[in-house]
Subunit: 220 residues, 2 copies
């Protein structure tokens, strides 16, 4: 189905390492949903800017938020384009040569023009959605958002105009040089969570919900 | 010493959350040296682009490489500016309200205009330096780089014109609402490495050097 693949344009076409490229929505969405850390690039007076922030996805829309007075939120609410990247590093690939040394990773780059969410219902629904990714069941336990807090929060919504994923998940590519006397293989990398640390004022209730379920991060 | 702090300009000034900002080189360099994953933003015909890649640092210069034919390497060799971000996520900060929910992190944004390294001695020295970060002692064990491989590798060097770090490393900021009956605290996040996986052709030698020493990632 054409619908299930992002169109390939000059903008999102992966030129180098194109065997690692994927444009299907299942792959792109899967990577976007595997972490909450993204980097947002935008342009101001011809100069590149970049900011790390937290994102989440609903259908073909990406969301992120910040102070409504932040430069990024104001700039991107004004019709300026953004490029958003989510990258997961899965391992270091140690080959027999420097040239073949690589990393295993899953990355996505999305292009679009964000808009400020002004509908209160969408705002609530999306904030809850973000919490459901981070910590399912926590949203209703929180102290309710005040009108002032709501006003101070700028939520951006970006329809993903086009996107490209790039994935490497393989051993070293230089098996033909396997007689070179150096260890070769992959050192896997992973994000894990550690035991929770109670707030210094003391926790008023146990942590009675999961954390990071959506991301499958193990607690060690 | 003035030398040890990046000048604050309109470009790198942290406007929101400026209590978390740092401009001293020790902090900026420390964060740049804590991971090899960075995101590079640049502008093409007024549109923002972003690419994840691997970086390292030498003094006040950032380095990253790619195929010499890649669009990014060619574009950034031609005098175009870049903004480079390195972000380490240290934990999810679960506060009593959505508004105070946050993350602990260390991030740096660097601005500059990269140049292509054309000096073979600098090329060798910097490639070895990168390997010393990733896997100290491995460089001399590798099959030597060929002339073709060298030609196919584009190494960029970017003098850091200015930079800003932003760090949050604290419990939830809403201790004044500690009577709200929800668990509050921090869930720490960490990058770890897993047991190495030998190449399918078989390892010709044991892994007789460290990996990730510079980054202090534990193996679990």
């Amino acid at each position: 189905m054409t619908n299930d693949v992002f169109g390939v344009t000059l903008r999102n076409k992966v030129k180098r390492g194109n065997k690692r490229a994927a444009y299907d929505k299942e792959t792109v969405y899967g990577i976007l949903d595997s972490h909450f850390l993204c980097h947002v690039a935008f342009e101001v007076d011809g100069a590149p800017h970049i900011i790390p922030t937290s994102h989440w996805r609903d259908g073909n829309k990406l969301y992120w938020h910040g102070s409504s007075k932040s430069f990024m939120i104001k700039h991107l609410s004004a019709g300026n384009a953004a490029a958003v990247s989510v990258t997961l590093l899965d391992g270091l690939v140690l080959a027999r040569s420097a040239f073949n040394t690589s990393v295993n990773y899953r990355s996505v780059i999305c292009y679009g023009t964000p808009e400020l969410v002004t509908d209160d219902a969408v705002f609530d629904q999306q904030m809850e959605r973000f919490f459901e990714m981070l910590a399912p069941g926590r949203w209703p336990q929180l102290r309710t958002m005040t009108a002032t807090e709501r006003k101070a929060t700028g939520l951006l919504e970006m329809e993903i105009d086009t996107a490209a994923a790039k994935v490497r998940a393989a051993p070293p590519g230089d098996g033909d040089e396997a007689d070179h006397p150096v260890w070769a293989g992959v050192v896997p990398l992973e994000t894990v969570s550690r035991a929770k640390v109670d707030a210094p004022e003391g926790a008023q209730a146990p942590l009675n919900h999961d954390v990071f379920t959506a991301y499958n991060w193990k607690t060690i």
